[in-house]
Symmetry: none
Subunit: 413 residues, 2 copies
């Protein structure tokens, strides 16, 4: 079954709000095996909303529109659907009773404006709204189309969708299952090269994505039989993982910090971090994990030279000779925080996040990350982006180094 989502609202076209309904509905429909080929956003304009319904009925069997069901004169969705179907709206006593009841429960009385919300397309099924005034509608289109009109506010749309739309969509035979394989440290082009033949696969399909310093591959399978679909996913995941073994750190909703935390916990090891240019971002990511107090002992944001000396024991001589942004200082910071916290591992990060503070030899984006303990190393990075991006990427590289070290440790016993 093909689906189309129509979001109605001028505020969306003005960029005043983000359309989270379209995302929510897409996700839900994908999970029921409906292929959404188009999402369309249109303003509060009768002619254009009508056009959107006509086009959607040409190319999809299931049409879900959200927004434009309220009491004001720019709530036009009902009327536009009637235009597209060539009929006129009629007053529904059933909808009107529901509306009056909703108001009564709140000690209010519906106004004349509110009566608009009791207008329906003839023959429509009324979907009661438990959280607001505007009822939803389910309408049958010309060729057996299923058309749903849902209210715009997510707190009204979601319960209405889950309670009254979803049950009629489940069991279409086909379901879509997907899995993510998550990687770090691999350039996008290399990933494409290694998986090129697999990208041609039709079912399961494979698609690569990049986001904030990581790459992931999504494997999607369409199946009528869930267990065999899962088996297909497993097989394809294995093929991807074999070809890209050194880069794969997790799957589905795993994050790099979760995996690092898990490895530390399993090995009963502890960690402390000393950050300069990342200013607490690494500590934040690690302490974002529930139960991180099992392995995370201490974080120091040593933003000044004085703090590097006093709190981390970096020597004056070293700071003078190499400068605060140097491989040796990163190492001394990692050693210093590790000794102070008596942790198994220590991380030291120093660099220039910008926008100022760079020089010819030490430009903005130059970052050193050291891991102390267990044979950890110091690495130099030349990162790009604005201040926030450089800070995030530096914290990410520290997690990559930690992950590689802990994984190799585990592998080698």
């Amino acid at each position: 079954m093909r689906g189309e989502i129509i979001s109605v609202g001028t505020e969306l076209l003005l960029g005043q709000i983000v359309d989270t309904n379209a995302r929510y509905l897409s996700e839900q429909l994908a999970a029921c095996g409906v292929s959404v080929h188009w999402q369309v956003t249109v303003g509060d304009n009768l002619e254009r909303v009508t056009q959107a319904f006509r086009t959607a009925m040409d190319r999809a069997e299931l049409v879900i529109a959200s927004g434009g069901l309220g009491p004001t004169s720019d709530d036009l969705t009902r009327q536009a659907l009637a235009c597209a179907l060539g009929c006129k709206l009629v007053h529904s006593e059933e909808a009107w009773h529901q509306l009056q009841r909703f108001f009564l429960q709140r000690d209010r009385t519906p106004s004349e404006h509110d009566r608009r919300q009791a207008l329906i397309v003839p023959g429509a099924r009324i979907l009661p709204n438990l959280r607001g005034t505007a009822p939803g509608l389910q309408v049958e289109g010309p060729a057996g189309h299923r058309i749903f009109l849902l209210p715009g506010p997510p707190n009204e749309l979601i319960p209405m969708f889950e309670g009254q739309v979803l049950p009629s969509l489940a069991h279409n035979g086909m379901v879509i299952l997907s899995r993510y394989v998550r990687m770090v440290g691999i350039p996008e082009a290399k990933l494409s090269e290694r998986l090129d033949d697999l990208f041609a696969s039709d079912n399961p399909t494979l698609a690569p994505y990049a986001s904030s310093g990581e790459l992931y591959v999504r494997i999607t399978v369409r199946t009528e039989h869930v267990p065999s679909g899962v088996e297909e996913l497993d097989k394809m995941e294995q093929r991807v993982s074999q070809r890209l073994a050194p880069y794969v750190y997790g799957r589905d909703q795993d994050t790099l910090e979760m995996v690092v935390g898990q490895l530390l916990r399993e090995g009963r090891k502890t960690l402390s971090v000393a950050e300069s240019c990342t200013g607490g971002r690494l500590a934040s990511r690690l302490t974002g994990i529930a139960g991180s107090s099992d392995f995370f002992l201490l974080g120091i944001v040593a933003y000044s030279d004085e703090s590097k000396r006093r709190d981390l024991g970096v020597s004056d001589a070293l700071l003078a000779r190499e400068g605060a942004v140097s491989a040796d200082v990163a190492r001394a910071m990692a050693d210093g925080v590790r000794a102070l916290a008596k942790s198994d591992y220590g991380v030291g990060i120093t660099g220039i996040a910008g926008p100022t503070g760079g020089s010819l030899e030490k430009p903005v984006g130059l970052v050193y990350v050291a891991v102390a303990g267990g044979g950890g190393e110091v690495k130099e990075y030349r990162l790009t982006g604005d201040r926030g991006t450089i800070q995030e990427r530096a914290a990410q590289q520290a997690l990559v180094q930690l992950w590689q070290l802990l994984r190799d440790k585990e592998k080698n016993g």
Copy 2:
């Protein structure tokens, strides 16, 4: 001028990511007086992306597509536009040189796959990408249409749009100007009450928004004459600010940490922070500001009792008597880090971020924030949400306390 926005990517239709680009572009176009009547989202399918371009050229003069410019075989946007225009892609030496230079600067070599990104619609203007590999394209359509192809990642799209698209769009007669007035510490209902009559205003219009522990009001004016539009904005901003004076901390792109940093800098004061449950989030926000080393001296993420004792000098007796999550320990942490760093102000945060670790007397969400120095106080909060939300809200409350203290100091000389 009518505009249309096309977002390309199957991941959008599957609901895996929210389309923030469409919102960003809509907002920007509205601000230049371009009327966006349609936003269309389509998957990585050649036929459908081609169809989207054809339809868009029928009903708009300005078409902006984002996504699908990368090196993999499902990056089809360039090819789809060529199909819609009835031409074939050609290799561009200019684009190829830019790509090679981008790789060279990162000590990498482009692969054969990367060459795809140097394919352009004949006659297209190449928009250099400073943050990624795929260049953007500006193409002239059949009837003088202006068509822009931009990369999908927002950190590439935004600078490309602002640097290379926006300048060519300004001056369309009518412009929309807006301003944000940013507030903290005010309940949404109180804001609505105080501004009720202003919300009825037609031009300028006022709209309230809530996001991550803050409220803001957006004032929007449509005008043909920029200076008088700005004057209208100024007047309305003044009315809003007068009515909500104790809550307004900034305007437009100001953030609370920027304003706190500015107050510290102006007063030549310094700050250090000791965090337990927020795990570095407060330090991260403060060090996210360029030049924060002027006022930020030290951050300590004291995650264990031992670290609170050893690194912050919180006494054993106090920890035993009150427990780590208590007003007195928050105060001792603030005093401790302030003394260690010799800063003017110190912040201490301790609490239970969850999901475990709560009890009847000390439930998940209980947080104490202390500010030491300048008459700062300890406050207790009962925050709700998941772990990440509680951590963020606690860091936000610390900034609110700091801001209120610094602002009052400044006011009272």
